[in-house]
């Protein structure tokens, strides 16, 4: 759970966790990562203890609604087979559409981003369509598409595509002039320029888009599953809500959070591997 606090692998996190501009840390002048690591763990432990106290005390009107952390974890453990199956069916929807969105977003984003003509043509459209909250498409997608698989894949695609497209095209459009100069001096073909220069140069932007896209994909997936799925993580929570089984609901929420966190961390790891050159 505290993996993101253990190592400061990402530039942003390092900055967030131990900014050199912090007024107080300037005087101490010590390494912050370890201190912050402890502080992060401390907060987690504190939050769980607080959860325990609140759920066992009589402050709350109906303690049925708030299982203690121990019960939640035990239920989570007991439900693992069911949750595992749910994860599998959720991922079968999530990943193909997310990957399709990423690939097509990068491809079209770069093509549009490098061309002033295409930028003038598509950016106004993107500016209008991209901010539409993708969840709003869900009922319509379920209505017009024949299967739940297709409709949820479609809305996940929409959710992930725009952030990737917009970031890839912004990255391609802002390819530093010096890279263009060097490519021309080296006589690279336009295709090689796009593939070997613009694509890697836009990767920092693209990864930002992929991170937003992945977070949105999880939102789209779970919301879509609340609407019309027969299996999956969102369905798990929705299903036990109908039986007022709050233990399982909380377990499902915690589990979904963990899975989302794990996926984001995996993406972060990939980003660190590929963007080693970007300081």
């Amino acid at each position: 759970m505290s993996s993101i606090f253990k190592k400061n692998r990402t530039g942003i996190k390092v900055e967030l966790l131990s900014s050199k501009n912090d007024y107080k840390s300037k005087s101490s002048g010590k390494q912050h990562s370890i201190i912050y690591n402890h502080e992060g763990t401390l907060f987690f432990v504190g939050a769980i203890i607080l959860w325990h106290i609140v759920s066992t005390s009589r402050i709350l009107p109906n303690s049925q609604l708030f299982p203690t952390p121990l019960i939640a974890i035990r239920t989570l453990w007991d439900s693992l087979p069911e949750l595992g199956l749910g994860t599998w069916s959720s991922f079968l929807v999530l990943f193909p559409s997310y990957i399709l969105a990423v690939v097509s977003g990068i491809f079209t984003g770069i093509i549009v981003g490098v061309s002033p003509f295409l930028r003038r043509m598509f950016f106004p459209f993107a500016r209008v369509v991209a901010p539409v909250p993708p969840t709003i498409y869900i009922p319509y997608a379920i209505a017009i598409l024949p299967t739940f698989y297709l409709s949820s894949s479609f809305v996940i695609f929409i959710g992930a595509f725009w952030p990737v497209f917009i970031n890839a095209s912004a990255g391609a459009a802002s390819t530093p002039l010096r890279y263009l100069d060097n490519s021309m001096i080296l006589g690279l073909s336009y295709f090689d320029y796009l593939r070997k220069i613009v694509l890697p140069a836009s990767l920092p932007h693209i990864f930002n888009g992929m991170t937003i896209g992945l977070a949105l994909s999880f939102i789209m997936l779970t919301v879509a599953e609340l609407f019309g799925a027969t299996t999956g993580l969102g369905r798990f929570v929705q299903y036990y809500a109908d039986f007022a089984d709050y233990n399982r609901m909380v377990a499902g929420i915690v589990y979904t959070g963990l899975i989302a966190l794990l996926s984001m961390e995996l993406l972060e790891y990939l980003k660190q591997k590929l963007l080693f050159w970007n300081k």
């Binding site: 530093p176 010096r178 890279y179 100069d181 060097n182 021309m184 001096i185 080296l186 006589g187 690279l188 070997k196 220069i197 890697p200 140069a201 990767l203 080693f276 050159w277 970007n278 300081k279």
Partner: protein, 286 residues
């Protein structure tokens, strides 16, 4: 396989037409003229230093020669052919951003080698790369990324890449400007050694704002005035190659030339200020 000699096939000829610039003027989209009425003739194999103060347009002139920009007026020719676009015949090295940071040194050089020797086997191309890296003393750094190298090593790799392109003319835009003095001197010597060591000499246009560097490297110094950029002096530096730094810097000729060049800058600045004052209707200056 002697790559240094191999890159130029024709025999050396001092009378071969090299770079010819005729009445060139240039300005960016907005703003006044950057370069005005520049005419210059550079013979093949000549080592020219373009010397000017910051912002005088010397880098712009280099970009025009490379074909990265197009003149408003005037013409540029390389070996009798008009310059319209960048061509691998004219390599360009920038101050500190020639290499692509996501590629190893080897992959960076491979971009040039792919262009120079298309259709050769991978093994052959790798051996070419090793030779060019050897030339600049970076043989064991092929697998490194630019971010892992010092500024001096990066510039050496950049020079190796432009040599690997097989360009007959090398354009260098303050290539050692960001280096510390010791590294800079070392790279100047290395560069001179590579240039004068080739059987057939490449044409070099070396942009710098450092009088000392220009005098040490160049056979000829073209001094550019500021606002707008124009040629204010063309100085021949008659020290034979290979040069000895100590002897050169302590010679009377060196002192004479450097004073002369500083004078050019000084009177150019004075003229410039005078025109400003005159234009404001205020003739009195100093």
């Amino acid at each position: 396989m002697d790559i240094v000699n191999e890159s130029q096939k024709s025999g050396q000829n001092d009378n071969m037409p090299g770079l010819l610039i005729e009445n060139l003027s240039f300005s960016y989209n907005r703003g006044g003229p950057v370069l005005q009425d520049i005419s210059l003739h550079v013979q093949q194999g000549e080592f020219i230093c373009l010397l000017g103060l910051s912002g005088c347009g010397k880098s712009t002139l280099l970009r025009l020669i490379a074909g990265l920009e197009h003149p408003d007026k005037g013409r540029l020719y390389w070996k009798g052919e008009p310059i319209s676009d960048p061509n691998i015949e004219r390599g360009l090295v920038f101050q500190d951003y020639s290499l692509f940071p996501w590629m190893t040194v080897q992959a960076n050089l491979m971009l040039a080698i792919d262009k120079k020797y298309p259709g050769t086997s991978k093994k052959e191309r790798l051996s070419y790369i090793d030779e060019y890296l050897d030339l600049v003393g970076l043989r064991n750094k092929g697998k490194c990324y630019p971010g892992e190298l010092s500024g001096g090593m990066r510039q050496r790799a950049a020079i190796a890449r432009s040599l690997a392109l097989g360009s007959e003319m090398l354009l260098l835009d303050e290539p050692f400007g960001a280096l510390d003095p010791a590294n800079r001197a070392h790279l100047q010597d290395l560069f001179l050694q590579i240039w004068s060591g080739s059987a057939i000499r490449r044409t070099i246009i070396f942009v710098t704002h450092d009088v000392e560097e220009a005098l040490y490297l160049g056979e000829r110094i073209v001094v550019l005035g500021s606002k707008p950029g124009r040629v204010i002096a063309d100085v021949r530096v008659d020290f034979p190659h290979p040069r000895n730094r100590q002897n050169l810097f302590s010679s009377a000729l060196y002192r004479k030339l450097s004073e002369q060049i500083v004078d050019y800058f000084h009177s150019d600045m004075e003229n410039h200020l005078n025109t400003i004052f005159t234009a404001n209707g205020d003739g009195a200056f100093i």
